[in-house]
Amino acid sequence: MSAPHLAEMLKEQVTDPAWLEDAVARLARDPGAVAELFPAVGRRCGRGPLRGDAPELAAWTVDDAARVLLLTAMPLRGAALAEQIRTLYWHGDAAEKRAVLRALPIVDIGDDAVELLHDAIRTNDPRLVRAAVGTDARQLDEQMWRQAVLKCVFMDIPLTAVAALDRRADGELGRMLADLDAERRAAGRAIPADARALLTLIGGSTKPTRSAEHEEAS
């Protein structure tokens, strides 16, 4: 995914292409205008699903793509760019926050991405959790990444939304899923089918937890 690629896709899909073109040009001259332009994107460009074949754009909307394009249009680098992106996130509504998360792989704000990803994962808003795990969130450490995957299971977010799942899923995630499975079975409930498939693939812990021992002993 790159800015020219997004611009090309959006030409055919936004409701007001002239507005988007003007907005991009204006940001190149005056990056401060983003505070006004960024929230207006849904109204001016549309909010429907983005059409296209790129797997990394699956589940994106037109306003997501247009907002990401606007972020790439600002002539800012380094700390100034990071500060602007952080401000847009913290003052953004859910759609704006989601677009910032979507932009992280192509708008480099370095380690500042971590606090935004953590915030998104703490919310119980599937739009944000899904966007955070869908960005190949390399900045997330293993512990937080596993928590995010488990959160998807709790929120019924399909695990296909998790970037790099096949590469990052490890034994500890398997152990956590196996424990959840045990809890759900004790309650007469089940884990979702995709979580079950992942558990089968990576396997649960072979070492029983204390609680499992207790259940067997009684």
Binding site: W90, E115, H118, D119, R122, T123, N124, Q143, M144, Q147, L150, K151, F154, M176, D179, L180, A182, E183, A186, A187, G188, T209, R210, S211, H214, E215, S218
Partner: protein
């Protein structure tokens, strides 16, 4: 059936709920401080919330003869947000108040370093202010979270009889039963625990140190599931006295350790004029 709901987030509920609860036998409750769904952005947002827990909510509850108490804390989820952590320095002001009967909810959400620190600091405050503690156990990785909670409690030196570990289920109750801590169960539609599953646990683990709550909040939840659990207990063969122990005497004993429970029923604490123009008094005459 008289009911003390030891964990319910009334700020997220309507006045109609207070009315229905009173009609069903709920006479007292504890509202622990928690996450609002929308993340807070600063410590001031917490103080407004705590003010509501010691002000507006007890007033709303009193309209229906319900005694409202609360627990205050920095919740585990927001302990991870550097913008919120300053609230730890204003907590002591609230821990000194009437009807603040515990520190809570504390504990773990994602089991991070920041959560470890906030948990330890607040256990220290509980000891300092001589208050019981209400500990939340995480939704994700609950078994590890419960074990880590027990380790932290042991390290803190706090009297386990002054701690309730909440949101337990079939798998985690066994970890807590022998610890001396009190055991909390949140009866939810569909998820955490159901009335019938609860009766099985009461048969197996006994009635001592067991608390049943609705944990009703802004999510799918039901403030009357405490009542339904009492009914399920009777159906399962428990006596009226057993129900009274679990749904009234146990929470009174636990939170009574604060020395701040106030169970004298006063119909309305403020004159109606104090809330003139507010719909809370409509139809109350």
């Amino acid at each position: 059936m008289r009911i003390f709901d030891p964990h319910i987030h009334m700020s997220s509920r309507t006045t109609d709920d207070y009315e229905r609860m009173a009609g069903a036998g709920v006479r007292a409750l504890v509202e622990p401080a928690f996450w609002l769904g929308q993340p807070r952005t600063n410590a001031g947002s917490f103080t407004d919330y705590f003010d509501s827990l010691i002000g507006w909510e007890p007033f709303r509850a009193s309209q229906f003869g319900i005694r409202h108490h609360c627990a205050v804390a920095l919740n585990p989820k927001e302990a991870n947000d550097p913008r919120c952590r300053d609230v730890l320095s204003v907590l002591p002001r609230y821990l000194a108040k009437d009807r603040v009967v515990a520190v809570g909810e504390v504990g773990y959400d994602s089991m991070t370093k920041d959560e470890d620190e906030a948990f330890a600091v607040q256990l220290g405050l509980a000891v300092e202010y001589d208050l019981p503690v209400l500990v939340h156990t995480p939704h994700r990785d609950k078994q590890r979270g419960t074990l880590r909670t027990l380790d932290v409690l042991k390290e803190s030196g706090i009297d386990h009889g002054r701690v309730i570990i909440d949101h337990l289920n079939e798998v985690t109750v066994g970890l807590v039963a022998d610890s001396g801590c009190w055991m909390g169960f949140s009866i939810y539609p569909g998820t955490k625990m159901s009335p019938s599953r609860m009766t099985v646990l009461l048969s197996r683990y006994g009635l001592a140190r067991m608390l049943v709550n609705s944990a009703a909040d802004w999510g799918r939840s039901d403030p009357l599931l405490t009542v339904r659990t009492g009914q399920a207990m009777l159906t399962a063969g428990f006596t009226e006295d057993d129900v009274d122990q679990v749904l009234w005497r146990n929470p009174v004993e636990f939170f009574g350790q604060s020395g701040r429970l106030d169970l004298d029923i006063v119909p309305a604490e403020l004159p109606a004029a104090a809330s003139a123009g507010n719909s809370i008094n409509r139809g109350d005459a």
